[in-house]
């Protein structure tokens, strides 16, 4: 026999009645707070009572026939009277109560997130990028170039002769690449960016005047261009965008309600992981550059030379130091030179 205190609601008004409840055999007897079970307020069959599934220490609700309800905090009594209530969810309750299961859940989630970030998302992004038509990708590139011209760059200030020499290197690198991309070289003067080259989705490669001036041999420019062509061919711009969107969706799905709680801050891990992704892409592009250079007969040392020149350049040299490698979007220059040297 189980007895417990509860509150009774008839379901017609919000008025409450404090009651004493007793389970005997297959009946549930409800008496006033005085506990006079000889004159009960109600007497119902146990199997007509719908006990809800327990969640933690939250209050229990027992549905009575006719829409009335009992509410109680006496979890032991309810468990004793309704051992079969929501059996499936009772298992979940068991999982939720033990710290060992909580630790196992953390391990599962950590493994899942790690797998998604390292393998799942990059593969999904590569497949997704393949589904995007080249015309759409070129349009993205056009928009990027427009934005670049608007805020950072001016038309190239190099002489016509010098420009056509660089163009010749570009044609040498792209000659015979029948992969559908519409390759073209865009020379720009962008003092605020410094010596640099950028691959835009669709096939446009932007190179700054400063980089052209920095090179001590035109074969070094060919090395940089081959690296950028590697970005284009492997659709790195598009894939980076898709991976970013995927990451944001993953974090939103896992964090759930907390997104509204933290707002902006949720984009921080995305930014950090994106930096990791783009370092991976730089390595892929380096690898392609070295392959392509050996195909067209440019010695690999030119790649090492331009990397060394770049790493000596300006204030960026400090930022690209090995200590900041993790935050930098490019692998440390010395590391890349080493790889290039190895390939030689």
């Amino acid at each position: 026999m189980t007895e417990f205190d509860a509150t009774y609601y008839d379901g017609k008004t919000s008025a409450r009645t404090a009651v004493r409840v007793r389970g005997c055999g297959h009946r549930l007897r409800i008496a006033g707070a005085d506990g006079n079970f000889d004159a009960p307020l109600a007497d119902v069959a146990l199997d007509e009572v719908r006990a809800d599934a327990r969640v933690g220490s939250a209050r229990r609700f027992l549905g009575l026939p006719g829409g009335a309800q009992l509410q109680t905090d006496d979890h032991d009594a309810v468990a004793a009277l309704f051992p079969q209530a929501a059996p499936w969810q009772a298992r979940i309750l068991g999982l939720e109560r033990r710290w060992s299961y909580a630790l196992a859940a953390i391990a599962i989630l950590a493994a899942f997130t790690w797998w998604c970030a390292v393998y799942g998302l990059p593969v999904a992004a590569r497949l997704g990028a393949m589904a995007v038509p080249l015309t759409v990708e070129s349009k993205l590139g056009e928009q990027a170039l427009y934005a670049l011209d608007k805020s950072f760059c001016e038309p190239s200030a190099l002489g016509e002769g010098r420009r056509s020499e660089v163009q010749k290197q570009f044609e040498r690198v792209t000659a015979g690449l029948k992969d559908g991309f519409l390759y073209r070289l865009e020379l720009r003067s962008c003092p605020r960016i410094g010596p640099n080259a950028l691959a835009l989705p669709g096939g446009a490669v932007v190179m700054t005047d400063d980089l052209v001036r920095l090179a001590t041999d035109d074969a070094q420019l060919a090395a940089v261009l081959a690296h950028e062509i590697g970005h284009v061919r492997q659709r790195h711009g598009l894939r980076l965008g898709l991976q970013g969107a995927g990451l944001a969706a993953l974090i939103a799905a896992l964090a759930g309600d907390a997104v509204s709680l933290t707002g902006l801050a949720m984009s921080l891990p995305t930014v950090l992981l994106q930096a990791g992704y783009s370092r991976g892409f730089e390595r892929e592009a380096d690898q392609y550059a070295l392959e392509r250079m050996s195909e067209i007969g440019v010695p690999a040392r030119h790649f090492a030379d331009i990397m060394a020149l770049l790493s000596k350049q300006g204030p960026e040299a400090g930022l690209r130091g090995e200590a900041l490698d993790y935050l930098s979007t490019h692998p440390a220059a010395s590391e890349r030179v080493e790889e290039a040297m190895k390939a030689r």
Partner: protein
């Protein structure tokens, strides 16, 4: 379980004074809202349900949602009595499957027939008011207190007028009508809700909403100017070049984020206070005393804790935020809380709620 009466201690609420209703009247009793969940217990519920959702490829998410909501509802007490969340997980799962199918259709249509995508967006715009109304109705009818259900009576026509009709005014006025729109929306949502047979009532609060948004806007603008100055100062340091520029940008972004957080907390606190302090439920009035500074601090520490623990602090953050919000809310009732009449119950499908969730429509309630 305590069945005590609401305490009759007269306490002057502190907070944004301009938004407070008149003092407690004689004969009115105070019923503070209490929240008794603990971060430690909720952590295990949260993490286990999240892991189960991942392991079942999302199918379990409907059960996870119901269990989490039931835990929060069951620990939200007024006058010692708890709220109850009654939604059936299977119904939510069905809604989510429909929403997922629609999303797949949407992405595929863009892939195969690009022209279809804008059409889909128009359809979504027309559907948003319906989704809003259905989602509110589903949530209301599945929420109960003292075995009396809540209801939402808003129909499609009025939702369309308020959400899209007034929403267009915001666009046409270049955002100037935004506070008016939010006030209209708040009023529509409040007035269409009832507890049993008793309707909630909220007057028009457009002027008050304008004051709140103007203050937040001024705050944001002030910090933007300050941040800009700080950035320029940092960037023009003697070293010059990329390092100084980077420092400047970081300073600007940090100042901007702090300003955003403060403005966000200010709007949240003051709009919530305004809405509850003017709302009535029969003879019941509400007092909400959220404080901008304390809310901003709560948000800030939540963000720091969540980032530092890679998300593991999320349950703790949710519980302490909810506890603060409950602690700052009090009911004032002349005749106690025993006299509300229940209404006939009706079943409402969950599709609206799930679709809105999946397309990430933030109704900002």
């Amino acid at each position: 379980m305590e069945l005590g009466q609401g305490d009759t201690v007269l306490a002057k609420p502190t907070g944004e004074l301009e938004e407070l209703p008149s003092e407690q009247a004689a004969g009115e009793q105070r019923y503070p809202v209490r929240f008794t969940a603990t971060g430690e217990e909720y952590f295990r519920i949260w993490i286990v349900n999240l892991a189960l959702t991942v392991v079942t490829l999302g199918i379990y998410s409907a059960w996870a949602k119901v269990r989490k909501k039931r835990y929060f509802y069951g620990h939200t007490l007024i006058d010692g009595e708890a709220f109850e969340y009654r939604a059936n997980p299977i119904a939510i799962l069905k809604g989510r499957l429909i929403a997922f199918a629609l999303l797949a259709l949407y992405s595929l249509s863009g892939e195969l027939v690009p022209l279809l995508q804008p059409l889909f967006m128009v359809a979504l715009a027309v559907a948003v008011p319906w989704l809003l109304a259905r989602s509110l109705a589903f949530n209301a009818v599945n929420s109960a207190y003292r075995n009396v259900q809540f209801h939402f009576h808003g129909g499609y026509a009025e939702a369309l007028r308020v959400v899209i009709g007034n929403g267009l005014l915001v666009v046409v006025s270049l955002g100037l009508m935004y506070p008016y729109w939010k006030a209209r929306l708040a009023r529509f949502i409040a007035n269409q809700h009832s507890y049993g047979q008793t309707r909630f009532e909220l007057p028009g609060l457009a002027a008050e909403f304008y004051r709140v948004y103007l203050k937040a806007g001024a705050l944001l603008f002030g910090y933007a100017v300050l941040g800009m100055l700080a950035m320029v100062a940092a960037a023009s340091g003697d070293r010059g070049g990329m390092v100084a520029l980077t420092t400047g940008v970081i300073v600007f972004v940090l100042a901007g984020s702090l300003a955003y957080l403060l403005a966000f907390a200010s709007v949240r606190a003051r709009i919530t206070n305004l809405t509850w302090n003017h709302a009535r439920l029969g003879s019941v009035r509400f007092v909400s005393t959220l404080h901008t500074g304390r809310l901003a601090w709560l948000y800030f520490t939540n963000i720091v804790a969540i980032l530092a623990t890679l998300g593991l602090a999320i349950p703790w953050a949710l519980v302490r935020t909810m506890r603060y919000r409950c602690e700052q809310t009090t009911l004032l009732a002349e005749q106690g809380l025993d006299r509300f009449l229940a209404a006939e119950s009706a079943q409402v499908g969950p599709t609206g709620e799930a679709v809105g969730e999946l397309f990430n429509i933030d109704f900002g309630l």
